[in-house]
């Protein structure tokens, strides 16, 4: 009995501590939570942690990263979208933030959240995806690849991190722009998608540079092009699709968001904080290690970037439409 009572009392105290006090004084005066909607070790988590640790130094208050995972990020994102807009619950989201509400719309589902429930604070990183093919495959350039794909529609395959996932989106843009049809073999995550191409079970893959560069250096994969506007620094010989005449652009980006309705002064503090974070040497060194280039944009520019990106993704999703099971040939 004693134990049970003790636990109830302890829990009650914990709850009052975390929810009871109100932010009436200067912001911030207590713990700030940054929600990473993906598991530890992923891009969102790896970006959120250095951001949080430098924010902590600047704001003089603990900034805690919480991984709220599930349903491809929808759980964590809808959690923040529906949180109290007081600046104490923030979201570190990736490009997929624009995909989920569109996919919900496509399937006539009640959306887990709407994009207008969140306001951007800053873009932190943006990494163009790289188009790679298995080293044993014959194509040495995008031109050769597209020519072959046109000859055999639906035969050349690609793996992805999952249907409607970021890697699927990048390939959809390529297929649309080059007017080719490829075979899609989705996996449950970017790791298994990479394993699959290394084993030669699929022919091509679009993936972030950090993931594929070691395999390129070891001669297992061959890069044909990148989705960025500029070439990737560590792959200077690899052209961009834009250079090759395909008007496509795709980044896996990470940005910080707050729930809509967060007071303007609080947003201002947060914006200037992130502006300092991206210049911090400790932060720069960490992002360098995880091979994720910093590409900072303050809220107004980030909003423009986000709108454009979201529109591009929405178009891609509409083009893909509802996936149906293919009939056997």
């Amino acid at each position: 009995m004693m134990t049970a009572r003790f636990f109830i009392a302890a829990l009650a105290i914990l709850f009052t501590l975390s929810h009871g006090t109100e932010a009436q004084e200067k912001y911030p005066n207590r713990n700030i939570t940054v929600v990473a909607p993906f598991p530890p070790g992923g891009v969102a988590d790896l970006t959120a942690r250095p951001v949080a640790s430098v924010m902590e130094k600047i704001l003089k208050n603990p900034v805690v990263v919480v991984n709220k995972t599930g349903a491809a990020g929808a759980v964590g994102m809808s959690y923040v979208a529906n949180s109290k807009p007081d600046g104490y619950t923030l979201l570190l989201a990736l490009s997929s933030i624009s995909i989920i509400p569109e996919a919900d719309k496509l399937f006539d589902r009640k959306p887990a959240y709407n994009m207008d429930q969140l306001v951007p604070i800053a873009l932190i990183s943006a990494d163009p995806t790289i188009f790679v093919v298995h080293a044993d495959r014959p194509w040495k350039s995008v031109k050769e690849f597209v020519a072959d794909a046109k000859k055999r529609p639906g035969e050349i395959s690609f793996s992805s991190s999952g249907v409607y996932g970021t890697l699927h989106m990048a390939m959809e843009m390529l297929m649309h722009s080059a007017d080719i049809k490829l075979k899609h073999v989705p996996y449950g995550g970017a790791g298994p998608a990479l394993t699959s191409i290394l084993g030669g079970h699929v022919d091509t893959l679009a993936s972030g540079p950090a993931v594929v560069i070691p395999q390129i250096k070891a001669g297992k994969l061959r890069p044909l092009a990148g989705w960025g506007t500029k070439r990737v620094a560590s792959l200077p010989e690899v052209p961009t699709f834009k250079e090759l005449g395909y008007d496509i652009e795709f980044y896996i980006w990470a940005g910080l968001f707050a729930p809509k309705g967060t007071p303007e002064p609080v947003l201002k503090t947060l914006r200037s904080t992130v502006g300092q974070v991206v210049k911090d040497p400790e932060f720069i060194a960490t992002m360098d290690k995880i091979q994720t280039p910093i590409s900072y944009l303050d809220a107004p520019e980030f909003q423009k970037f986000w709108d454009k990106d979201a529109k591009m993704l929405a178009d891609a999703i509409k083009r893909i439409g509802r996936l149906e099971i293919q009939e056997a040939k």
Binding site: T3, A4, F7, P39, P40, G41, G42, D45, L46, R49, V65, V66, N67, T69, G70, A71, A72, A74, V75, A103, F107, K110, A112, E155, S157, V163, Y164, K183, H184, V185, P186, Y187, G188, G189, G191, P192, L194, T195, S196, L198, G199, G200, H201, V202, A210, I213, P214, Q215, K217, A218, K220, D288, K289, I290, R322, L323, I325, Q326, E327, A328
Partner: protein, 515 residues
Amino acid sequence: MTMTETLQNLYLGFTVALAPGMLLYAFIGCLIGTLVGVLPGVGPLAGISLLLPASFGLDATSAIVLLAGIYYGAMYGGSTTSILMRIPGEAASVMTCIDGYAMTRKGRGGAALAIAAVGSYAAGTVSVIGLMLMAPPLARFALRFGPPEYFALLLLGLLVLAYMSGGSLPKSLAMALLGLLLGMIGIDPMTGYFRFHYGLVELGDGIGVVPVAVGLFGLSEILLTAGQAAPEVIKPRLRELLPSRREWKDSAWPIARGTLLGFLIGIIPGSAHIISSFVSYAVERRLSKHPERFGQGAVEGVAGPESANNSATSGAFVPMLALGVPSGPIPAVMLAAMMVHGISPGPLLIQQQPELFWGFIASMYVGNIVLLILNLPLVGLFVNILRIPYPILYPSILVFCLLGVYAVNGSVIDIWIMTMMGALGYLLRKFDFETAPIVLGLVLAPMLEMSFRQSLSMSSGSYAVFVNRPIALVMLAFGVLLLVLSLRPLVAENWRKALGLQGGANLEEKNSSSP
């Protein structure tokens, strides 16, 4: 690589691993891992994920050594609550619950814990030798497992289990089916449709194995106990903490077989240590001369699965270290830890970072010894938990189950799932159904579905993909053979029964005990 080179490299590794700082991290890792594993529900993945940020401040090798220690510590620690309280500390310990707990009820809990510790040690050490000598070729072989091979393997696994399961076959199959059905909940991996989510976003990822396992095993046990007259508390005596000579003898082969099985299953990308423990249990029951002892406290049922799940840990590191690709969620977190320290994991890791690779290998040898030294004395301590009177012990366990299950995803839905599964487990056990096949079905369903549909995507819908690929074909053929073998006695005995040659009363026992 020649033997001398390997030995030289290993020497380099030991100079890294035996440095006092590194020893300390191996020890801390094993200790945290054991504690994390003991907490119901919180398994190695949750443990590593929670502690990943703490490792950011260390240098790369220390961080990896620490995380690896947590990993195999948790794999071992999971057995403790399984054996003593029938609560799976993590999903891979589900099979240990059955005979481990039965041993505890007979007063052999200490022996079961000691066997689990020694089995884990032996499996850990032997599988590191495998990792050290054969990582690159094994990893290349593992890559040949594409979706069709993987599907064939899983199907083979299911058939092996059906072939080897004891008890009533229809009941086991019904439970496995229930598990497979539960595994259908969540986002359709090939189309993105939500299935059976009832408006809950949390169900998008499906039902987690942890709340189901803790509910079906742990909660149902607490409920069952509550409905009975207070059981006599078995006070373990010190001399009973150690396994008898006979128990050692009975455990030797299961440990060896579990080690091999676990290592091989662990290598295959996407495969899980959970499956290795199920297969090991089934194999032991089949090979045993007294399969009827399984479920009643057979030491083999602890030795095999516990060795297998620890050995699978090393197996899982093969693709990670040799190729830089994760074979599952846990190696994925470890790869992230390497990246944070500026090491890009990839096929060149072993050449470029020899001190990391060999230091890691050596630290695994050291870690396994640390684990043994840490855990054998703890056996006495843990067994004393049983001295706590039930009215205090059980409510506390309940609270720990709640905390543990909640801690994994921070999800209240998981707590509801656990509660419902507890009630379901209670009912099923009242009606004499085995609940382990539900967990197995739930683990296998998403993997089976994914690999099956990926295979058909690859072949544009042609089923020939399963027979055109040699590895898949061999495994499927073997599966069909097992199926025929397992149906034979069923048919034969029904035939005899029809002819009135044999009484039908003991038919069921016959089915389960003879091939």
